[in-house]
């Protein structure tokens, strides 16, 4: 019989007895805490870490590739064919895509491949430049309002509310009346109307962040204002700002398309993706490719921007690291 014989089950045995019974059956092998912590990743900074996380995100990488491809094509795509984007060819109107005219021709016989990439130039220029202008204005005004607070914040925010109450279309028409129509007035119009929401967003973020204890901790360590802004405020706002920026680019491209449709956008023979879609829609039932081609580029560009923005936001937030 074994040591448990006096008891109906092992659980009833007193602990001392149980330990005695177990003696010799088990070996204490110990724990090497140093070894268990030994295999860790090397020290890396915030931006490098963000890049590593972005690289792992396939969708964001594909989106980035699409954006880069479109930008390259916008720069050099027009030069790949011998046709000028504004040269009419009345003997070859409304040709479907073929080996000579890769994307076909429009109602005036202009080569759609050349026009598509010329349109890409205009659309991307308007989208990117106006988004960057909105961002810059928004950060400066919203950042100051949030950081300084008080009377300055009060006055600036009331001004933005008044500006925001003017309808977008009236604002654009007013700007067009002063500066004429064209790419530069369009960019100006988007920048002037779009910075307000950006400023509000930045102000809210700054307000929320500046009262957090880590900001107070940085100040109590003697951090200068520029260090507070560039080391603490901006990295903490970067995620939200980048997502907003990637929304603003397609938004500007869309607005431009809409304005072109009502005749306020870029004027022919100059073109843009919106302008192309507008012209294609007029012959949609007969020559659908004239609408489908620019529509495809507008939608894939929008999708790529948004997915890339999502990926960037995730990469910039260390909390989402797996």
């Amino acid at each position: 019989m074994d040591e448990y014989s006096n008891f109906s089950s092992a659980a009833e045995m007193p602990i001392e007895e149980r330990l005695k019974a177990a003696k010799g059956r088990f070996d204490h092998i110990g724990v090497d805490s140093k070894a268990s912590e030994g295999i860790t990743r090397p020290t890396i900074g915030y931006w490098k870490d963000a890049w590593i996380r972005l690289r792992k995100n396939k969708i964001a990488l594909i989106s980035l590739a699409v954006i880069v491809l479109y930008v390259i094509m916008a720069l050099f795509g027009g030069a790949m064919v011998e046709f000028d984007y504004k040269a009419n060819d009345l003997f070859n109107v409304n040709q479907p895509p073929n080996s000579v005219h890769w994307f076909g021709t429009d109602t005036l016989g202009r080569d759609l491949w050349a026009r598509t990439w010329q349109g890409a130039r205009v659309s991307l220029l308007i989208g990117l430049v106006s988004a960057v202008m909105q961002l810059t204005l928004g950060i400066i005004v919203g950042g100051l309002a949030g950081y300084l607070g008080g009377t300055f914040d009060l006055i600036v925010m009331r001004i933005t509310e008044i500006l925001d109450s003017i309808p977008f279309l009236i604002m654009v028409i007013l700007i067009m009346m002063v500066f004429g129509s064209g790419i530069v007035p369009l960019i100006l119009a988007f920048a002037i109307t779009g910075w307000i929401s950006m400023a509000r967003l930045v102000r809210g973020q700054v307000y929320q962040l500046k009262s957090q204890e880590f900001m107070m901790a940085a100040r109590s360590m003697g951090a200068s204002t520029s260090r507070m802004i560039f080391k603490h405020l901006i990295p903490n706002m970067a995620g939200v700002m980048i997502v907003t920026l990637t929304m603003k680019v397609p938004q500007a491209i869309f607005s431009e398309a809409f304005l072109s449709y009502i005749g306020l956008g870029v004027q022919p023979p100059q073109t843009s993706w919106g302008q192309l879609a507008n012209q294609g829609s007029q012959v949609m039932s007969v020559y659908p490719y004239q609408l489908l081609i620019p529509a495809f580029f507008i939608s894939t560009m929008m999708l790529a921007m948004q997915l890339f923005g999502d990926g960037l936001r995730d990469a910039l937030d260390p909390k989402l690291r797996k």
Partner: protein, 322 residues
């Protein structure tokens, strides 16, 4: 006050008032005087909203004092310009209450700890990294933790990072603003023991803010009890716990749980009536009068001043003024 020579911190009649809307004044700290000897710890206790944190923050100029005088190491630091403030931050540091809010989530542990050294241009970049790693191990974390981000740690580990950050600047005086209140009980003892060990190793002077009376007894040489912006009793910690004199201190101490049901049942608890009044536009007289069981006529008219009732034992109560 009671301490003889070598006072590291000496505060005289310090006031911090916040000016609210409609000309209301919130007297968060209203005429506080105390001193701390070099290398010693003053515990500061009181219920929520009594001005403990404001007092701690005013001492190291996170808030500007409204009136009064702060002497640190023989130098008047009541008013500081930005250059003097930076000097002050290299000597006086703060450990924050909330380990979740006080660390920037976008920085790695090493960056957080080394930030103070970088701000004050201490050592070369390589040495800073080495020293930051040394501080990591000093607070009981591993070198390998250095590349991780704050969200990867538990509350106790984060608080250790906060402690390492404050100490990396090599301060002489540290305000510990409830460093243990956000932690669970088993970790509280670890952190307090860590603080005591570091104090002995580095000859630090502490102002230890807490509302846990037994922890304060463990770490403090002297204890000050605060009520509604004023110190009502201040003495050595043995004296305070063995002979509490102010009615408020007595009720506080009677609220400490005793881990023995027989003793606990036989003990007479002093239950306070009513709520802590608001520190906005306080009426004249003793601040504790509406909750005090010994309230006299005199308490309505006159605010009691701190008075030495036994060697080194100061109480602000009219019961001891006759």
């Amino acid at each position: 006050m009671e301490h003889s020579n070598d006072k590291y911190i000496e505060v005289t009649d310090l006031k911090k008032h916040f000016y609210l809307k409609q000309k209301k004044i919130l007297k968060a700290v209203d005429g506080v005087s105390f001193s701390i000897k070099r290398g010693q710890t003053l515990g500061l206790v009181g219920e929520s909203g009594c001005g403990k944190t404001t007092l701690g923050r005013t001492l190291i100029h996170i808030y500007e004092p409204t009136a009064g005088k702060i002497m640190m190491d023989g130098k008047d630091i009541t008013k500081v310009n930005s250059k003097e403030y930076k000097q002050l931050t290299s000597k006086a540091q703060m450990i924050f209450q909330d380990p979740y809010a006080s660390l920037d989530t976008h920085m790695t542990t090493l960056e957080i700890i080394a930030e103070g050294m970088a701000i004050h241009n201490m050592y070369s970049a390589k040495e800073r990294k080495e020293r930051a790693e040394a501080y990591l191990s000093m607070v009981g974390l591993n070198k390998e933790h250095g590349s991780r981000f704050p969200h990867e740690f538990s509350g106790g580990q984060r608080q250790r990072i906060g402690i390492a950050r404050a100490l990396a600047i090599e301060p002489e005086f540290v305000v510990c603003d409830e460093p243990i209140s956000a932690l669970d009980v088993s970790v509280q003892a670890q952190i307090v023991n860590l603080l005591i060990r570091l104090q002995n190793e580095l000859h630090l002077t502490f102002l230890f803010i807490a509302h846990d009376l037994s922890m304060v007894k463990h770490i403090s040489d002297y204890v000050a009890v605060m009520y509604l912006g004023a110190i009502v009793e201040i003495t050595s910690s043995e004296e305070l716990y063995s002979h509490p004199e102010h009615p408020y201190t007595q009720s506080l101490l009677s609220a400490i749980p005793i881990p023995d049901p027989r003793v606990s049942a036989s003990r007479k608890r002093i239950l306070l009536q009513g709520e802590i009044p608001t520190p906005i536009n306080t009426p004249p007289g003793c601040k504790f009068k509406n909750r005090c069981q010994h309230c006299m006529k005199r308490c309505d008219a006159e605010e009691p001043k701190l008075k030495e009732i036994a060697p080194g034992h100061f109480v602000a109560c009219h019961l001891f003024n006759s």
